[in-house]
């Protein structure tokens, strides 16, 4: 599984990094994004639902969150 360490990334930020990484992935690939931005916990699942990918999980890990998404289309 590919991990993108976007902790402390202000620009372009965790969701933009995830979108870019998914473009280079194939269906079924899972990507983990690490984010210190609490907003990611809301905006990543919101976008994933809109576009039709699959949320695998969100885990709080102390000072950051691990968000795993599966490319579905």
């Amino acid at each position: 599984m590919q991990t993108i360490d976007a902790r402390g990334a202000f620009c372009p930020g965790p969701l933009m990094e995830l979108i870019a990484a998914l473009k280079l992935s194939t269906i079924g690939d899972q990507i983990e994004i690490l984010s210190t931005d609490k907003g990611s916990v809301a905006d990543v699942p919101e976008w994933v639902a809109k576009v039709g990918h699959k949320m695998v999980g969100v885990t709080e890990k102390g000072d950051h969150w691990s968000i795993v998404v599966e490319k579905a289309k």
Partner: protein, 379 residues
């Protein structure tokens, strides 16, 4: 035996590194202990941010270009001979011209490129200003534009993160000056759920857009463009009609990075502080080429280059690294044709843009010329 520093890429990142090393390592270059070689793809060096002004006739094309040999320090051996294959295990790079160059230290500064062809219909139906040919076509399309819907469409990933906002504000001012505002509508689309990646910039832009009547569609990642029907459709399932589509196409890194198996999409996995290529101790990465999750911008390349220069010079003269890159990024933001602001941040300091002013706009215009001092490593 001379130590060979090879720089692949003659854009801003590679050029600053080359010129800075010449200053730091002057005695070693004079004695022949160090040799600096650059592989570029073209004889000319282009000031890429200047392309933003081309569609509006606000910069002359010749102002965008300099002879790369005149920008580079004379002590740099410069070949216009693109790298074809980079073999980090063998410490060598082969070129399209048939050269094979060995190195002791390698700097990868191969940059990024627009990929409109990666989205069906975008190349045929869209206009952009991220290369000269595209900027010329956009200028011609604007000259013929008599009113209608203009979509400004940003796609991930892209360099110069503020350019989508800048082009939108500049389009507004252009339409106003042409008395076309009453007959026109600007719709801005953005990949995530706000108007810009930087939250403070997004919070500032929203009321500005509302005040000017600029509409927006967020969570919009382009899936296809239908040039015949003049519509653009997002992966999120929204289709918008347009009369003029101004797009910031998605970007990828250089093909040679992909072909050399150095990074998916042409982005090289890079240590965020030392700028080493992951897994290498003598390969450094600079500018858009890294996979570091920060802005792909000229200022990023510049601040990274400054660190690389110090570290390479220290390695060669003191056998140690000098300092870490702190993630610094600085961007001017044109907020129209006569005002501007700026934003800076690093790994630990969040951005906090100030109110737009005419003074910052003038400084941005001055920087359009000061750029050449940056490239020469003097600023």
């Amino acid at each position: 035996m001379a130590k060979n520093i090879l720089i692949v890429g003659g854009g801003l990142a590679g050029t600053i590194v080359a010129n800075g090393l010449c200053r730091q390592l002057a005695p070693q270059l004079r004695s022949g202990e160090v040799v600096i070689t650059m592989l570029g793809t073209t004889e000319t060096h282009m000031y890429q941010p200047g392309l933003l002004y081309v569609p509006f006739g606000r910069i002359r094309e010749h102002e965008l270009f300099r002879d790369q040999r005149k920008v580079l320090d004379r002590r740099v051996i410069f070949h216009v001979d693109p790298a074809k294959h980079i073999e980090v295990e063998k410490n060598q790079v082969s070129t399209e011209g048939g050269r094979t160059l060995k190195y002791d230290y390698l700097v990868l500064a191969t940059g990024s490129r627009i990929m409109p062809q990666s989205i069906p219909g975008m190349a045929e139906g869209g206009h952009w200003f991220y290369d000269l040919e595209g900027a010329r076509k956009m200028r011609d399309a604007l000259a013929k534009f008599e009113g209608g819907k203009i979509i400004v469409n940003a796609n991930a990933p892209h360099k110069c993160p503020v350019a989508p906002l800048e082009i939108t504000f500049m389009l507004y001012d252009y339409l106003k000056a042409k008395n076309l505002l009453d007959k026109s509508e600007i719709i801005y689309t953005y990949p995530i759920g706000r108007l810009h990646a930087l939250e403070p910039v997004a919070l500032w832009a929203k009321p500005e857009f509302d005040k000017l009547g600029i509409k927006y569609e967020t969570f919009f990642n382009t899936e296809s463009v239908d040039p015949g029907a003049k519509t653009i459709t997002s992966a999120e399932g929204v289709t918008l009609p347009y009369d003029l589509l101004v797009t910031i196409p998605p970007h990828q890194g250089a093909q040679v990075i992909v072909d050399s198996d150095l990074g998916k999409g042409g982005w090289v996995p890079t240590n965020t502080k030392t700028l080493h290529r992951d897994g290498s101790t003598n390969v450094f990465v600079c500018g858009d080429t890294t996979n570091i999750p920060i802005s792909k911008a000229g200022s990023t390349a510049h601040f990274e280059a400054d660190v690389l220069i110090d570290n390479l010079a220290s390695l060669l003269t003191e056998n140690r690294m000098a300092r870490d890159y702190d993630g610094k990024v600085f961007c001017f933001i044109e907020t129209g044709s006569s005002t501007g602001t700026y934003v800076w941040f690093n790994y630990t300091t969040p951005p906090n843009p100030g109110p737009p002013s005419q003074m910052v706009h003038w400084f941005k215009l001055a920087y359009n010329r000061l750029y050449w001092l940056s490239a020469k490593g003097l600023l």
